[in-house]
């Protein structure tokens, strides 16, 4: 009976130990997948969270880049507009420059032509040798004064009183000097042959004086280069003109330059 009881107790202890071991085994076999699952979930979640953070950072960077790109596009648009305006302005300036260059070239050509005409005129005036009144001006004055007293008085005034007046473009007085039209206006105003003052009349003589096709003694001859001379006939009936030139008061042949028109002067 004692042996049976010991055997039974031994079996009971084995049962208890087996149950304990079964619990431990079940615990371990259960906890291993639990731990693995927890670790995997945690690791996966962490990794994905990091990736989400990186994606968010990339999105932020992309947003910044898009913003910068948008701003850059706007600036490019502004620069393109400015470039277009600058190109238009450049085209306009080029056109203006071309026009200015052409006009400058034309002016240069005109200047060269005028300079050539001026030089030719000066040379022709310097080469005058055959006019008789330069040799004997008193005879001319006497002849003209006897035939046309008023015209002779004007001629005397120019070749005697005003012969030392200097040449000055735009001048209208003996003190400052004369140009050709200024002297003619001064003399005509001095002898009250025109009513306007010389300063106003010097530019409007062709309109103030009545135009005529054939001049008489004392009439005014208008030349292409702006010379305004008085027309006279010598004792032999040969015409000559007297007026202010860059070389002083000269008596010249009427054809020393191209005639534009004749202005009639009403002498008393």
């Amino acid at each position: 009976m004692s042996t049976s009881s010991e055997s039974t107790n031994s079996l009971l202890e084995q049962v208890q130990a087996r149950e304990r071991k079964a619990r431990q085994t079940a615990f371990l076999l259960t906890m291993i997948p639990v731990i693995v699952a927890v670790l995997l979930i945690w690791y996966t979640t962490s990794q994905i969270k990091q990736m989400n953070d990186q994606v968010q950072a990339s999105k932020d960077d992309l947003t910044d880049a898009n913003t910068q790109l948008t701003n850059a596009k706007v600036q490019i648009k502004v620069y393109q507009d400015q470039l277009g305006q600058a190109q238009n302005s450049l085209g306009t300036l080029k056109s203006q420059q071309a026009g200015t260059s052409k006009r400058l070239s034309d002016l240069q050509n005109q200047y060269d032509g005028l300079r050539q005409q001026y030089d030719n005129l000066i040379n022709s005036m310097r080469n005058i040798r055959s006019f008789s009144y330069q040799r004997d001006p008193l005879l001319a004055l006497k002849v003209i004064g006897s035939q046309h007293p008023s015209q002779g008085e004007v001629l005397t005034d120019m070749v005697v009183d005003l012969k030392n007046a200097p040449w000055k473009l735009g001048g209208i007085s003996p003190q400052e000097g004369f140009d050709s039209a200024g002297m003619a206006a001064f003399v005509l105003q001095k002898y009250k042959l025109i009513s306007q003052p010389a300063s106003a009349a010097r530019n409007t003589l062709p309109q103030l004086l009545k135009q005529e096709s054939q001049p008489k003694a004392g009439d005014v001859v208008f030349y292409e280069l702006g010379y305004t001379m008085f027309y006279y006939l010598d004792d032999k009936g040969d015409p000559f003109v007297v007026g202010m030139t860059p070389l002083g008061v000269l008596a010249l042949k009427p054809d020393f330059a191209k005639v534009i028109s004749y202005g009639q002067v009403d002498y008393p």
């Binding site: 039974t8 049962v15 259960t30 979930i41 969270k49 989400n52």
Partner: protein, 133 residues
């Protein structure tokens, strides 16, 4: 039916030992403790899965995508599902505990044959639980 089945523990009379009520109570108590343990373990596993789900959602919930939330839910569900293994251990032990309780009742029977038969049954159960045969 019982006479025609060789493995029927009721009809086996070999290697029998005297089993007292105290020893049967020990076996029943042993089974009860095992049932209690596995039940707590099952509840703990289910709770651990739920707690893990709540913890992860509370920490990473704002940053988890829908697919990741599904993944976490599946993982926690897997942990909780391990409690089914513990439930599986409870069922045979409950059956065994009921059988032992029934045997305990019949071991006090005035009929010697009946008492002997249930003692043999308890003995075989004891052997099986101890040796795993």
């Amino acid at each position: 039916m019982q006479n025609t089945t060789p493995a029927d523990p009721v009809n086996k009379t070999e290697n029998t030992q005297d089993i007292t009520e105290k020893e049967v109570d020990f076996l029943i108590d042993c089974q009860r403790q095992a049932i209690r343990y596995y039940l707590r373990f099952a509840i703990g596993l289910a709770g651990a899965g739920a707690i893990l789900l709540v913890v992860i959602f509370s920490i990473f919930g704002g940053t988890l995508t829908d697919s990741l939330k599904s993944l976490v839910g599946i993982g926690c569900g897997f942990i909780s599902s391990l409690s089914a293994l513990q439930i599986k251990e409870i069922t045979p032990r409950t059956q065994s505990m009921r059988v032992l309780a029934l045997c305990k009742i019949h071991m006090n029977s005035p009929d010697e044959a009946v008492r002997k038969k249930y003692q043999d049954l308890v003995w075989q159960s004891l052997q099986k639980m101890a040796l795993g045969n």
